[in-house]
Symmetry: C2
Subunit: 183 residues, 2 copies
């Protein structure tokens, strides 16, 4: 990709993230974004069809990155289905958040946009699918598979949410322990 393209794209993303920290998605205007990003209006629309697509692509960039990282390490060890042996991908993900990689925490903590969490959960769902066997023995009798799948994923999501909303006063390890206790 052209360096100019990259620069504009980055500038827009960066301005957008900054704005998301201040106000909610729906009340952010394209005008504000391009002003902060210091790019022309036409440039914005050359990159992103709409404001919604901007959010979508930002999430994809960000979350795919995060999830690929947690995944990658596990995959590198060829341990997708035996996550127990190595560091749990869940704990791994929590550590990423703890370190605020890519400013992800800033975004997730905003009381702003639920859309963000939707994309986050979408990425998480995929991860859970791969690491599901981790908790297979805890699945009760008569529980539909898809329900269980969804339950784990949303339990983890809401644990993170609870963590962040509470100001992340506890270390990632604790949150992981709580998560393990209830699931």
């Amino acid at each position: 990709m052209d360096r100019r393209q990259r620069k504009s794209r980055e500038a827009i993303f960066s301005a957008f993230i900054s704005l998301l920290g201040e106000k909610k998605f729906s009340s952010i205007t394209v005008g504000e974004i391009i002003e902060k990003a210091d790019v022309g209006r036409a440039t914005f629309y050359a990159h992103f069809e709409t404001k919604d697509y901007l959010l979508k692509e930002l999430c994809e960039d960000l979350f795919c990155h995060i999830f690929d990282l947690t995944w990658g390490e596990v995959n590198g060890h060829r341990h997708i289905f035996e996550c127990n042996d190595t560091d749990s991908p869940y704990l791994h993900l929590l550590r990423h958040i703890e370190r605020n990689d890519n400013g992800i925490t800033t975004l997730l903590s905003g009381r702003n946009n639920e859309l963000f969490w939707r994309y986050f959960k979408a990425g998480l769902d995929k991860m859970v699918k791969s690491c599901l066997p981790m908790f297979e023995e805890r699945r009760r009798e008569g529980l539909p598979f898809e329900f269980w799948e969804n339950h784990i994923s949303s339990t983890f999501t809401s644990a993170i949410r609870w963590w962040i909303d509470g100001g992340m006063r506890e270390p990632a390890e604790n949150v992981y322990r709580y998560f393990s206790l209830v699931v």
Copy 2:
């Protein structure tokens, strides 16, 4: 409240709900609402400051109503802290949704607005707080109280979500059973 006021308010709510079934919140305009509600523009703004407040008040009306109903019956029996004896308020709530009371399902099923779920969960949180002792014995050692609280509430929320997203093919009783199994 004046009958005229009530009529206008109802008309706006009704038009808004109908529109929410068709398209997502952000792409609904005030123009569409007042046209469908058949009220003047000034009237709309006399009732609601913005479109966001409209959603807010609608949710409050609706959810407070739903939660008060489920609650009311439990409270009527003076059984807030012994929900076990009577019909569980959770199951109760599921039945409300199953019957699509106040068109609540239509609203929750739209892939539209997460805001709706936020308000829903806010109402649920209060309910959980009252009925928490129901599951007290299942709380594991070393688990913070607030985490447990949040966990139950969001597990229930995501169970409903899973249910609705899947087309509500199972009866409310099943969903309640799954919920009981995992929590």
